[in-house]
């Protein structure tokens, strides 16, 4: 039993390493073949024109334009395995430091969105599935489908327009008030600035979780054990409470952890709209500015987060499901 657990964890660890290698290669290749010229993108066309050849060469060396991509990748990878993620070309700071700052901003946002969309999506999905065909189900389903087909950036703009521009209830962007010293920023300020982006992320996250949970709940409601529970005189609520929730919790766990990737993906767009200085915005800046070390760093960190999310779900399965916990076979 113990041996298989160690085996399971080490196997997954190796898998994660392989995934990260693959992700870094793909990202690097994509950046290398992108048509963005780092010099004109970061220095500006006009400034570039007024520079001397010598100055240009210096810059080219800084951005590594003349080295072959393979050589550049190997340089980067060599440093990376030694724990050095390099220096961000845009921020002129170690990548680890940039990511740490941006991630702490984003994590706040993503954690709120993850929790809200998870809890709300689960509840709505269970209700919708359990009362399939009723007006409640139609309402929840209609809402979910509407939101699922709404672009997240458009929803962000809409909320911005309503709550920040028209009603002036919430700040229009950024993560801290403008013109206030860093020491003067309170926790309340941070929360206030995170509300709109977090709500946008939650609203879009909810629909996905709701629709998936609904499908699973319908499967559970149509199962033989639900029919038998009904035949034994259990009320609908008792069936949902005693058997429904118990059996939906496993797929819900998977969904919840799989949704991490969607939350991260969504945060890129949302942070852009709200000018929220998080990981998503840094990723966009790194991508459009050819800041390869930062882009690779962000990509790997997010890939690892998504992988770890799924990994945790796998481990929780073994804890929650008695068939796996007791070492039996899952039928």
């Amino acid at each position: 039993m113990k041996g298989t657990k160690v085996q399971f964890i080490s196997k997954n660890f190796i898998r994660m390493i392989l995934l990260l290698i693959a992700v870094s290669i793909v990202t690097f290749t994509l950046v290398s073949i992108s048509p963005i010229d780092p010099l004109s993108a970061n220095v500006g066309q006009a400034a570039l024109g007024s520079m001397s050849q010598e100055q240009k060469e210096k810059l080219e060396e800084y951005w590594g334009v003349n080295e072959s991509p393979v050589q550049r990748y190997l340089n980067w990878a060599g440093d990376f395995v030694r724990g050095d993620m390099g220096v961000s070309l845009l921020y002129r700071q170690p990548v680890t430091k940039v990511i740490a700052v941006k991630l702490s901003n984003s994590l706040f946002l993503m954690a709120i969105a993850w929790a809200i969309s998870g809890v709300l999506g689960f509840m709505l999905g269970v209700l919708s599935g359990a009362f399939r065909g009723t007006w409640l189900d139609k309402l929840i389903q209609g809402y979910s489908l509407l939101i699922a087909s709404t672009p997240v950036f458009w929803l962000a703009l809409l909320l911005l327009l309503i709550f920040a521009v028209w009603m002036k209830l919430l700040p229009i962007g950024l993560s801290v008030p403008i013109g206030v010293e860093a020491s003067g920023v309170t926790f309340f300020d941070r929360v206030q600035h995170a509300i709109l982006p977090a709500i946008t992320l939650s609203i879009t996250g909810v629909s996905n979780i709701t629709l998936h949970t609904r499908e699973k709940m319908i499967d559970v409601m149509e199962s033989d054990y639900m029919l038998f529970a009904q035949a034994r005189g259990e009320s609908r609520w008792s069936m949902i409470r005693r058997h429904g929730l118990r059996n939906i919790i496993l797929p819900a766990l998977t969904l919840q952890f799989a949704s991490i990737s969607e939350i991260i993906g969504g945060s890129v767009l949302v942070e852009q709209v709200f000018s929220y200085p998080g990981l998503g915005q840094a990723a966009v800046a790194a991508g459009t500015g050819s800041d390869v070390p930062l882009l690779l760093g962000i990509t790997l960190v997010t890939a690892a987060m998504v992988f770890l999310g799924n990994f945790i779900a796998n481990i929780l399965y073994g804890v929650v499901d008695p068939r796996m916990r007791k070492g039996g076979t899952v039928s």
């Binding site: 065909g133 033989d224 054990y225 029919l227 038998f228 529970a229 009904q230 035949a231 034994r232 005189g233 259990e234 008792s238 005693r242 058997h243 118990r246 059996n247 499901d321 008695p322 068939r323 007791k326 039996g328 076979t329 039928s331």
Partner: protein
């Protein structure tokens, strides 16, 4: 049943179950799965409803318990203890006075411990005691209550499901294919348990495709074909071909291994393609034009039959099947 004056526990008359379905696009159609079915169960009796797999027998159980799917509609009357079973009444009696014994362990919640399920979540001392007594009666160890369904063997599962049914002290048990895939000795043991329950003055409605097993334990056999009951016979009627009433029952009799293992061609019609009149018509050796009219249920020799060719009293004549055929033609 005309020859028995015993108290009816269950009486079903003219039961029909149909499903609303969408055919092509928005074209709604009604699929009649059960039509004009009649069954009754008396005190101390096991009545077996026998029909081939997939013929909709289970829906009979679901109709009695009021657990049909939302797109099903129900017609006809069901009486339980002489009292009309309305949908409201079904909700009150199911799991208590009427209990279901399902096919397999799949009907238990896979993630809930057995004991909690047998007691239906009730932890009161009385219920606890009753469960323990049932476990003792069916030779289940007391630790069984802490197992999950996947940890129970086939034999254990069967006894657990039976205990589950008996927790509510029922008057009627509906057993829906309680023995499929079970070893013969286990299946026989299961049947003995039902017999014992019936002998205490209760009723059992056994729904099965296994006619051999049904003949061993039941008092009466109801033959189910294409959604309706074609014959109701005493078990003793199956001793000889002449005592049986319906051509399908006779075909069933001949198909039994000890009676020659002889099969007839064709298969049961799908509910969408039911023939006019007699549902067995297209496969019947006695088929004639009159069979396409309405076929009433008739009482013949302490049983019922849905066949216009069946004679009031066969036993006086020495009719074989060919003779019956000629007779019908004359």
């Amino acid at each position: 049943m005309s020859c028995q004056e015993k108290h009816h526990i269950l009486e079903i008359s003219n039961l029909s179950v149909s499903f609303r379905q969408y055919d092509r696009g928005t074209n709604q159609i009604n699929l009649p799965v059960i039509t004009n079915l009649n069954v009754s169960v008396h005190d101390g009796e096991i009545v077996a409803v026998v029909g081939s797999s997939g013929s909709g027998k289970s829906l009979l159980a679901h109709a009695i318990l009021g657990i049909l799917p939302y797109n099903a509609s129900l017609a006809g009357e069901i009486y339980f203890n002489q009292e009309l079973l309305t949908e409201e009444r079904k909700k009150q009696v199911r799991g208590k006075e009427i209990a279901l014994v399902p096919q397999s362990v799949n009907y238990l919640d896979p993630l809930m411990k057995v004991g909690l399920q047998v007691r239906n979540g009730d932890k009161s001392p009385g219920v606890m005691e009753r469960m323990k007594a049932l476990f003792r009666k069916y030779h289940l160890e007391q630790e069984t209550e802490n197992l999950y369904p996947f940890e129970c063997s086939g034999g254990m599962s069967r006894r657990i499901l039976l205990s589950t049914a008996l927790m509510g002290n029922p008057r009627l048990i509906i057993a829906d294919e309680p023995t499929p895939g079970m070893e013969l000795s286990l299946a026989k043991k299961a049947m003995e348990d039902f017999r014992q329950f019936a002998d205490e003055g209760n009723g059992v409605l056994l729904i099965t495709h296994d006619i051999e097993l049904a003949l061993e334990v039941a008092d009466r056999i109801v033959v189910f074909y294409a959604g309706t009951t074609v014959e109701e016979a005493l078990v003793s009627d199956f001793e000889s071909l002449e005592k049986l009433r319906h051509p399908y029952t006779k075909a069933l009799w001949r198909a039994m291994p000890r009676n020659g293992f002889e099969t007839i061609p064709g298969s049961q019609p799908y509910v969408k393609e039911l023939p006019e009149g007699c549902v067995f018509g297209p496969r019947c050796p006695l088929f004639s034009e009159e069979c396409e009219g309405e076929i009433p249920e008739r009482v013949v020799r302490c049983g019922t039959v849905r066949c216009i060719k069946c004679e009031e009293d066969h036993s006086h004549h020495h009719h074989g099947r060919e003779e019956a055929h000629t007779h019908a033609g004359s």
